[in-house]
């Protein structure tokens, strides 16, 4: 029986003596994808940051491949966990290849250079994200979608067991959002992604964790968790599920308008995001 890649037990995080997360427990097997959803301020980003040791947790335990991450050095953690966040503002102008090569830095000896294996991994990550033709380009000349692909390629160059995504699709248009999420569907790669788009979360994830004010409101299969009733309770919006022609399901959201006006029933589809 394969051991879970990630086990979180009764996790509690406080920042400046304010409880941000409490009682968070879940487990993920190799290759599983978890979407973390919830309103702004519900603790999504803090949960992601706790998983790579960027914020300390006060209670509970995080185990990675059976090993507790407390006391593990940043370097050895980075050999197993990679992170893609929202577009990183760059004060210094890297080339595409230069940025992706930094993904190997957790593996390089303090004074040594890259091995042929390191270079092979970087080439592969560039190729996977279709960045090979852009490898010499400066990041400043790329579009938001291309830059996000570069950050994902850097994360893949870390050859992680666990990939964390913190609202990675925020600045992307619909197509690039879908492409990015599709790109991390890789055999054996366990992914935890904080997402705003409930439809994307529902399509992409094996499991959905709904956070509300730092606690788990629901955890399970997308269709079980993202029910209209629960979304209405947590996000305070009205939800109308639509059945798609291909048998899929999409959710349409409406603001908490207590005095519905004529146009409300004709909300354009792009308002649903």
């Amino acid at each position: 029986m394969s051991e879970p890649v990630l086990e979180v037990q009764d996790l509690g995080v406080e920042l400046s003596a304010r409880p941000i997360l409490s009682g968070i427990s879940f487990g993920l097997a190799a290759g599983q994808r978890l979407a973390v959803v919830g309103p702004n301020g519900s603790g999504k980003t803090t949960l992601i940051r706790a998983l790579y040791g960027s914020v300390p947790h006060q209670t509970g335990q995080i185990r990675l491949a059976g090993r507790a991450i407390e006391g593990v050095s940043a370097r050895s953690l980075a050999q197993e966990v990679a992170v893609v966040r929202q577009d990183e503002p760059q004060a210094f102008d890297f080339s595409v290849e230069g940025m992706v090569r930094l993904g190997r830095s957790p593996f390089l000896p303090l004074l040594g250079g890259e091995s042929p294996e390191d270079r092979r991994v970087v080439d592969e990550a560039l190729a996977t994200m279709e960045l090979t033709p852009l490898r010499g380009r400066s990041l400043a000349t790329l579009s938001g979608g291309e830059r996000q692909r570069v950050l994902l390629a850097r994360a893949l160059a870390q050859t992680p067991k666990l990939l964390l995504l913190d609202e990675p699709t925020n600045h992307l248009d619909v197509r690039h959002q879908l492409e990015l999420l599709a790109a991390v569907e890789r055999p054996g790669l366990t992914v935890v992604a904080a997402l705003h788009d409930l439809n994307a979360a529902s399509d992409w994830a094996d499991q959905v964790l709904l956070l509300d004010a730092g606690r788990i409101s629901a955890l399970g299969l997308p269709a079980e968790v993202l029910t209209p009733e629960r979304i209405t309770a947590v996000f305070q919006v009205q939800v109308e599920p639509l059945l798609c022609a291909d048998g899929g399901r999409a959710l349409v959201f409406r603001g908490p308008g207590r005095r519905p006006r004529g146009q409300i029933s004709a909300v354009p589809p792009d308002k649903s995001r």
């Binding site: 960027s54 990183e88 303090l110």
Partner: protein, 339 residues
């Protein structure tokens, strides 16, 4: 940004190093031969090998030799420390002078003179202490959460810098003796005219080891350029790395200030001008920065000797005159925002 593409191939980087090397060697030659007494290249060459005229030998070996090596070390090390501090602060406008490290070090060095120290050691030790204190203070004041935004950092640097300069001036006020006044003024202005083997050798002992460690830690510096969260996710213990890099930088800056006073802007200009050609990776940037910083300082110091000959201009004044406009240019080009 100066250039759009940064395809820093090895060929291009090799060219950057080659040009820097040529400027450096030319700087060595002019620094050894030009001055109150000008010597021909042949005379310098003969003197270096212990031959030729006795006076020329004294000038080259005892006067200009340590000054030339000192200028190269000061310029090169300032450029390297500037690049390191820019990475640590994640701010392309950082350097030991702008951040108040140099003026902080001046306070310690001046204090040592006022207390009657006659060798470089106590001055350098005190300079290191006050340099560290200044940079910690600047960072504390400027910090918002986990980062220090450019504008806040500059303002904090200005505040701490003026405070340190005022302190140094105050020391000057309390010390009437002409020699001590000269000593304290020297640290305020920055210059290489007092260089001798007796001050250069301890400076080398103090400055070169931490400088080599900074070269060794270049990859960590590159990762820090990405910001704290990204650096953490790439395996860097940010607090620890930042502490080490700031401490080593203050050690280098303290030694340099004790030797040559507070010389500004070299640490800012050189890494900035080089990045478009080397790329931001410190493994490439630091060697080039050392070479170009050393070359620049050799040329500047020779110019400072020649401009008002037979009087000498402290090179710190010349650096300030040329560096400050460059700094303003950078400010306006980047449109520094308090993001």
């Amino acid at each position: 940004m100066f250039s759009v593409t940064t395809s820093a191939g090895l060929g291009r980087y090799g060219l950057v190093l080659l040009l820097g090397g040529l400027a450096f060697v030319a700087g060595l030659v002019i620094s050894l031969s030009l001055g109150a007494v000008s010597l021909s290249f042949g005379e310098v060459w003969a003197a270096l090998w212990g031959g030729g005229d006795g006076t020329a030998r004294t000038i080259v070996l005892e006067l200009r030799g340590p000054r030339t090596l000192g200028a190269a070390l000061v310029g090169g090390a300032l450029a390297v420390v500037g690049a390191v501090l820019q990475a640590v602060m994640r701010n392309p406008l950082a350097d030991p002078y702008v951040l108040g490290v140099s003026s902080g070090a001046s306070v310690g060095a001046s204090l040592a003179v006022v207390l009657g120290a006659s060798s470089l050691w106590p001055a350098a030790t005190l300079a290191f202490g006050t340099a560290l204190l200044s940079v910690a203070l600047v960072y504390r004041i400027a910090r918002v959460g986990h980062t220090a935004p450019p504008l806040r950092l500059l303002l904090a640097g200005i505040a701490v810098s003026s405070f340190s300069t005022a302190l140094t001036s105050l020391l000057l006020y309390f010390v009437p003796e002409a020699t001590a006044v000269r000593g304290v003024l020297f640290w305020l202005l920055g210059g290489l005219s007092g260089s001798s083997w007796a001050t250069l050798l301890p400076t080398m002992v103090l400055v070169i080891p931490p400088l080599l460690i900074l070269f060794g830690l270049s990859r960590v510096q590159t990762v820090l350029l990405l910001g704290d969260e990204a650096a953490r996710s790439l395996g860097v213990d940010v607090r620890q790395a930042r502490g080490w890099l700031i401490g080593l930088s203050a050690l280098v800056a303290g030694g340099l200030v004790a030797f040559a006073g507070a010389i500004g802007f070299v640490g800012l200009i050189v890494p900035h001008a080089l990045r478009p050609f080397t790329g931001p990776e410190h493994g490439r940037l630091l060697p080039a920065a050392f070479l170009y910083g050393a070359a620049l300082m050799l040329w500047m110091d020779t110019a400072a000797r020649m401009l008002l000959a037979p009087e000498e201009l402290p090179v710190g004044i010349l650096c300030g005159l040329l560096g400050a406009p460059f700094f303003l240019l950078l400010l306006s080009r980047r449109g520094v925002s308090d993001e």
